[in-house]
Symmetry: C2
DNA sequence: GCAACTATTGGACGGTCGTCAAGATTTTAT
DNA sequence: ATAAAATCTTGACGACCGTCCAATAGTTGC
């Protein structure tokens, strides 16, 4: 009897928790959009609320404070953006195909998700000043690194080569290229997409110059 | 007579302008230090004034508004940081020496000037949101690119090779590595300096794999 | 259908921001 | 030496910030 009552209570409690979490996520995503549009420095709670369907007061019902909200937003970014190339890796059967489709995806997300990407770089850089973001940022960076490494490792495998550089270096190199292209994209300078399509295959080639036999 | 009076006036005017500019520069450097410490989002005029020997009101005597002051600060950064490796390039007589001294300098500035570097990345990223910084940022980025290219081109020359990638790519790659190491530096994760000393020579090698005869 | 609880509103608060201007102080020209 | 011009300080201003809270609306369990 007591047990039945408890499980009922539990069911109710769980449903409430689920609903609570769902709204938290909803508000965190609204936060993400605000950050992508305005950047960290100009993102305010009232702006965030305006992007959702609620008033600004509700944010303190679901989040302890602004930091809590922003942290949750960062985690939402993670859920969105760390598996982008996995399909490409899974489906490629030749090195040329992987190279081409990776490059295409790279350029496509540069074009389509530019505001989201500038948000990521903004938050990552913010973590250099504000310790409270650092843990989540490092975890996402790690996931991004793994994502890139899956591409490079598979590409090397298909080429019957070995990567010439470490996992961290591979990520840094491609991240640097992406950031550069993103700046060009916003500045309207040159044609970053075209430049990437030309340069990325060469870079991939360089990153797997090692021969398996030679280690 | 009129001419003499005018040149005298001019001399006075010029001296005043010089003094005015000197103080502008002084305040812009104070701004730079504040930005390096607090980041763009938390840098306020009163904080900046506190880092100088003046009160906050004086900032509007020398600068039209906050944006004007920050823009001048960005230009001061440029004067500081776009010729860092030139001595290394000028004095190196062998590829091994250039590689070693470039790597040492790279790691040294990562360690010694970390706050200044995080400021640069903060401002560069800010230019993705705020158009008013973009022009100056792009110019500095261009100068950094040239600085890096002088290193790579000279290294290739000493190795009797040709660079395997474009100027922009070379810069992006090394910038990505630096940014990664900077994050590691602030997060206290691993030993970014050690990792760089290990990886940088390999990367340089990869960047100049082209042969002059075949290139 | 009614009480208990959850969810949401919107305004008020103390604080800080950029900006400005009036006045004090220092420097300069003669 | 002194008047004029420059430099600098101080305090105030309206705006906006994050936070909080009393009141209201909506939902749920029984």
């Amino acid at each position: 009897m007591t047990e039945v009552a408890e499980t009922k209570q539990d069911r109710i409690a769980r449903r409430q928790v689920d609903k609570f979490d769902a709204r938290r996520t909803e508000l965190a995503i609204a936060t993400l959009h605000t950050l992508a549009e305005l950047g960290y420095a100009r993102t305010t709670l009232r702006e965030i609320a305006q992007k959702s369907e609620f008033s600004h007061g509700v944010l303190h019902y679901y989040f302890a404070d602004k930091r809590d909200l922003l942290t949750e937003a960062v985690r939402q970014y993670e859920a969105l953006c760390v598996t982008r190339y996995d399909d490409v890796v899974a489906q490629a059967v030749t090195a040329e195909q992987l190279c081409r489709e990776f490059t295409d995806m790279f350029v496509a997300t540069l074009r389509d998700d530019a505001p989201l990407h500038r948000l990521w770089y903004d938050l990552r850089n913010q973590s250099l000043f504000d310790e409270s973001f650092r843990k989540d940022v490092l975890e996402i960076d790690e996931r991004r690194e793994e994502m890139i490494w899956r591409v490079i490792a598979r590409y090397a495998e298909l080429r019957n080569r070995e990567p010439a550089i470490s996992r961290a270096t591979a990520y840094s190199v491609l991240d640097g290229l992406f950031q550069r292209a993103l700046l060009g994209e916003f500045a309207g300078a040159g044609e970053p997409a075209r430049a990437l399509k030309r340069e990325l295959p060469r870079v991939l080639e360089l990153l797997v110059t090692g021969r398996p036999e030679l280690g």
